[in-house]
């Protein structure tokens, strides 16, 4: 159960940063009622950030990841989340095996 100070510091920093985001939203709440372009820009943040996080894996790792990503995107249009995950995992394992 030993943990060095650096690890603890990193975990606490992440925890405080994350809770600050959640708490800011809770406190600002309805006052952040936006309309028009501003609302469109803010609504775009969740899908844009989620996309940005995985984009390098999809487009700058190797062809097995890129093709598996394309298959997974197709699956995401039709299947529930669990099916999407299974499709992604199975296709990447098969394609990586083909890539050798």
């Amino acid at each position: 159960m030993t943990m060095d100070a650096t690890t603890l510091l990193a975990i606490l920093g992440m925890a405080i940063g994350t809770y600050a985001c959640r708490l800011t939203g809770l406190m600002v709440g309805a006052r952040l009622a936006l309309t028009g372009r501003a609302k469109a820009a803010l609504d775009a943040i969740p899908p844009a950030v989620l996309t940005a996080v995985i984009a390098p894996t999809l487009f700058a790792t190797g062809w097995p990841e890129t093709i598996a990503g394309a298959i997974t995107i197709l699956a995401a249009m039709r299947l529930p989340l669990l099916g999407v995950i299974l499709t992604g995992v199975v296709s990447v394992v098969v394609l990586r095996a083909l890539a050798g």
């Binding site: 030993t2 943990m3 650096t6 690890t7 510091l9 990193a10 975990i11 920093g13 992440m14 925890a15 940063g17 994350t18 985001c21 959640r22 708490l23 939203g25 809770l26 406190m27 600002v28 709440g29 309805a30 028009g36 372009r37 469109a40 820009a41 803010l42 609504d43 775009a44 943040i45 969740p46 899908p47 844009a48 950030v49 989620l50 996309t51 940005a52 996080v53 995985i54 984009a55 390098p56 894996t57 999809l58 487009f59 700058a60 990841e65 990503g69 997974t72 995107i73 995401a76 529930p80 989340l81 669990l82 999407v84 995950i85 499709t87 992604g88 995992v89 199975v90 394992v93 990586r96």
Partner: protein
């Protein structure tokens, strides 16, 4: 067992059960991610206790997985915290949007409930609040189960991970990518959203190749926002 008539207020137990049932697919989906997170973190030298602590205190899968990717010796604390805040900046908006719908709950429930607020239960809570009053049992009750689920599986991952070996062999690392694809697909309901996602993917890939992590997250976020502003049209957005 007494069945409440359909029009009367639901009991806390049935509200809680509703919440857990609706969250169940997300909890099952989070399982391999949590195991993966624990296994990779253990590989980087974190103890099972440190893994459980991080999952319990941070409770943000995407940011935790990104942090573990960046985890080297010495630990780049500033970079990891910056990446965490960037990835979780969306919680400001998600929380702000949900805040008026929990205004009737006591402060402690809001403070705890928003700590366990993640993409999946946020989306479900928003959907629920659109149809009926959001209850403490549904929101915090199901959120707590979601939290325990995440902490437990990541802790277990840190214990069994070192015994299994490289999680890449099972494609477990790609489960993270797949779940994000699934979550993004949930947001994309119009052609404008497709433009946002394409802009973000292009900018993030480019910046990742030139400046590296975590700047691609910021670049993708801004490119997506810019695209949303560009393609915005004044008519009311009624999703098809």
């Amino acid at each position: 067992m007494t069945e409440a008539p359909p029009d009367s207020a639901a009991s806390p137990l049935s509200e809680w059960r509703d919440g857990v049932a609706e969250l169940a697919p997300a909890m099952i989906a989070a399982m391999p991610l949590a195991l993966l997170y624990g296994a990779v973190a253990a590989g980087k030298g974190l103890s099972p206790f440190a893994v459980a602590l991080s999952s319990g205190l941070v409770f943000a899968g995407g940011a935790q997985l990104a942090a573990i990717e960046m985890w080297t010796s010495p630990v780049p604390i500033a970079g990891i915290i910056l990446s965490t805040v960037l990835i979780n900046a969306r919680y400001v908006l998600m929380a702000a949007s949900l805040a008026p719908k929990v205004g009737h709950m006591p402060l402690w429930a809001r403070l705890l409930g928003f700590h366990v607020l993640a993409d999946e239960n946020w989306a479900l809570a928003e959907r629920r609040a659109a149809a009926r009053r959001l209850t403490l049992a549904y929101f915090l009750g199901a959120g707590a189960v979601f939290w325990v689920n995440w902490v437990f599986w990541s802790w277990l991952g840190a214990i069994v991970g070192p015994l299994i070996g490289d999680p890449r062999r099972f494609g477990a690392d790609f489960a993270f990518t797949a779940i994000f694809i699934g979550l993004v697909a949930g947001f994309v309901t119009t052609r404008r959203h497709v433009a946002v996602v394409v802009a973000s993917a292009a900018a993030a890939t480019l910046v990742h190749q030139t400046f590296g992590s975590p700047w691609h997250v910021l670049a993708g976020a801004f490119a997506g926002m810019a695209m949303a502003v560009i393609v915005w049209r004044p008519e009311p957005e009624t999703a098809a």
